[in-house]
Structures are given as structure tokens and as C-alpha cells.
Amino acid sequence: MPYVKKLQPHEFNFLHSKNILLAKIDIELTERCNNRCIHCCINQPENDEGSLLREMDTELVKRILTEAANLGCFTVKFTGGEPLLRKDFAEIYLFARRLGMQVILFTNARLITPSLAGLFAKFPPGREIEVSVYGMSSESYDVVSGCSGSFLEFRQGVDLLLQYKVPFIVKGPLLYFLKEDQEAFEAWAETIPSMDAKPGYSMNFELRSRRDDQTKNERIAKLRVTPEDTVAMFARNPYYIADMVRFCGNFIGPPGDKLFLCGAGQGSCCIDAYGHAQLCLPMRRTDTVIDLNKISLKKAIEESFPFIRETKAKNPEYLRRCARCFLKGLCEQCPAKSWVEYGTLDTPIEYFCEIAHAQARFLGLLSVSESAWDVEDWKERVKRFVEINSTVG
């Protein structure tokens, strides 16, 4: 009789059960970055003194990690900015691992050194490192990153990960002037040992998370992939229709005036670079974040988050459209993104509305002239869609 069982990844589900107060935590170690990517929603300059002064110190990060582990947390994501900019990164990383957490690291890999690669090889994170790639040559990469020489440093970092056999995956932004690089990027990604699927792309770029740069917002908005091209990218996935059949059968429908419909803050939590607990990373409105210098993580999750999640929509335009729209679930509309785009929690976001409608038309759920919030027979349409496509995939 075997006493010890090796758990396969699909058996990790119990680690995210409803009885665990906190299964996963995202920690933004810094907003500072050594890149200045044209599409980035959060980056601050690498040596920004204001950010440096306010960042969580090592002891606060460790306290938060310890609290998280005591609440059952199994996975921590370190993100930024560029988390490797933190001088105490190795210390924080090992601390998290010694708490028995698996670590997901988001990085541009420019700061991977032999010492760090050796650390990851000796003490593996337990999950693949996720490396963002901004082009396949200096000509493209350095334009996106805004930093001369950044491509070469990125390649050196990735080469070290390969040399030390540290598992990683790659992903990138879908920018129109990177189209020529896309084939080369995907061909290169296939050579990476731990890549078992095509790389993921970000394309519906978020505006500035702290609403701090209107000029950059205008530039980001121009870089966003059109709704039609977004749907074309979705349709590249051979399982797209099958996934939509499963999704539409279970998650589509008008939400009413309830604003927080996702799982944000339920079993998960995000911590910004300054020690504030947030339901999710974009949700930074000051009356929705909790200062962990003053309140425990447990209290934030048990008391503050449920209270925030009870917020209802009041904007008449939201109540006329989003509250009645059966595409809720397909649409990226949410209070966090509404705050980022408009400074309120309940303003319909036109860009995401157009994408959701483009998807619905592609799937045959809507005709060209229809607005989803005016459709009364949506249940019949979804049922027909599921029936017609149930044999697909």
C-alpha cells in the first residue's frame, strides 16, 4: 500500500476550496521598472525616489507572506513593475518558499544573473517563471521597452534560465508593429523546453492603473487591438468554440445591479507595492484598499472585502445597459476597470462593450444591429448556440 501520493496538478483543486480563506496572493513588489514599455499600465522609473521611499520594507513583505501562509495560502505571484529590482528579492523569494508556497514570478528577465538563475535552479519556484517578451530584435524590443540595450539583456537573462534549466514560459503584448516578429516569436517559443502551448498575448491593454498619466492613456488606447482583431485572436484557439459552449451554458446572463461578480477578494488577494490589500490589482480606488500597516490581512479578507463586494451600481447608464446585458461573463466590464477608465465603479466601458458584442456576433448570438441589453430571448439563443455546437471539439 503506498503511503505517499504524488499529487498531479489537476489534483491541486482542494488547495483552492471554499474553506480556505486565502488560496492565492499576488504581491506587487514594486511599481518601478527597468523598462518603460509604451503600453504599460503601472511602471514608474527604475530609481523613482518617491516610490522607493514608500515601498514595503522586507519585514512587512515577510509579515504579509507569513499571515498569508497561516490563512492557507499556497501560491504567491511576485509581480511589478519589475520585481527583480528589489535588492531583497532573493531573501523574499526564499522566505516564501520556506513557508511552503509555490512562487509565480513575472519578469522581463533583464535582471537574471548567474546568481539568481542558480538560486532558481537550486530552489525551484514550483511554477514556471513567466517572462514577458517585447520583440525579437533590438530594433523592435528596444522601441517597445523604451530602453536601449534592453533586448540584449533580456536574451542574456533568458539564456541563463536555459543554461541553468530553470523552467519558464514566455508571453508578449500584441502590438501592431510587432506583427512581423510574431512568427519568429512563436517559432522561438516552441524551442523552449517548458512551453507546451503557444505563447499568450496581452492585447486589450489596460489604461494607467493609478489614473496618473492622461497622455500615456491616449497612447495606450491607440495601441489596443480592435474588437474584430480581438475576436480573430480568440478564434485562433482550436478549442474556442468548445470553450464558449461550456462557458455560455453556465456563466452568461444579465447581472442586475450587483457590481462585483468575479471572484476577486474571495480566496484571493492582491497587495500593492506600498502594503495595501486590494480585491484585484487594478482595483486601486482609495476607499477600496486596506492599509496592512494598520489592519491584518485576515481582517481585510474576512471583513473589508465582503463589505466592498456588496457595492451596487447606481449610474443610470450602467443600469440601462450593463445590468440588463446577457453578455455579462463574456464582457470584461468590471468595477476595477471602470475605475481605471473613468474614475467611477459603474460606468460602461465602450471598448469592452464593443469586444463583447463582436464576440457575440461571431458566435451567432447577436445580429449586427442589436444591442445585447435589449435582447429578451437571450436564453433561447444561448440554448440554441449550445445545442448546435455541442458536438464541436
Binding site: 503511503y3 501520493k5 504524488k6 496538478p9 488547495l15 518558499r97 514550483g126
Partner: protein, 99 residues
């Protein structure tokens, strides 16, 4: 190291044991434990009861006696389980023997 009733074992420093929802999870910290670096291990109830007694001081025989009293079970059967578990755990480098 031979696995005998008089042997003493303790958890390796290269793993972390966590109890999540009553489930004992063994998280490898270093490379080389298990077949790949993203694996986790869990134990059945017998394994968990034995693991929680591995303190680097008690012999495997001591542990078997404790468990046979606690669960009112046959000492030979318990000792068989204890030795069997140690074989599995040492093969995966999850425990280390004390000389």
C-alpha cells in the same frame, strides 16, 4: 542507511510540510526531490499519523508503540506501516536518518 525499528528519522530540511484542510502536503524546496520540480506529495491517514511523530528523537519502534496504543491496533501491523513509509520517504529523500 538501513531502515530498522531502532532507526531514527526526521523530515529533511529540503522539504516543508504544510497541513491545509486537514491534508498533509509535502512541498519540496530543492531540486532533486521527486521526478520534477513542480511536484507535491500528500500522505494517507496512516502516513500522516507517522509523519507527525518524526522528531529526530523517537525510534521507529517508539513511534509504532505510540500509534498502536492510540489506535488500539496490532503492533506488528503498525510497525510494518512505519517501516514501509520510511522506505518510501527515504527513496524520495523526504526524510533523513539520524545515526
Amino acid at each position: 542507511m538501513d531502515i530498522k525499528p531502532s532507526s531514527i528519522f526526521m523530515p529533511s530540511e529540503d522539504v516543508v510540510a504544510r497541513v491545509i484542510e486537514d491534508e498533509l502536503i509535502i512541498v519540496p524546496l530543492v531540486a532533486g526531490i521527486g521526478d520534477s520540480n513542480d511536484e507535491l506529495y500528500t500522505m494517507n491517514e496512516t502516513g500522516k499519523a507517522i509523519w507527525l511523530r518524526l522528531d529526530g528523537k523517537k525510534t521507529l519502534s517508539d513511534i509504532a508503540v505510540e500509534l498502536s496504543h492510540e489506535f488500539n491496533a496490532d503492533i506488528d501491523m503498525i510497525e510494518h506501516d512505519v517501516l514501509g513509509l520510511m522506505e518510501e520517504l527515504t527513496s524520495r529523500k523526504i526524510v533523513v536518518g539520524q545515526e
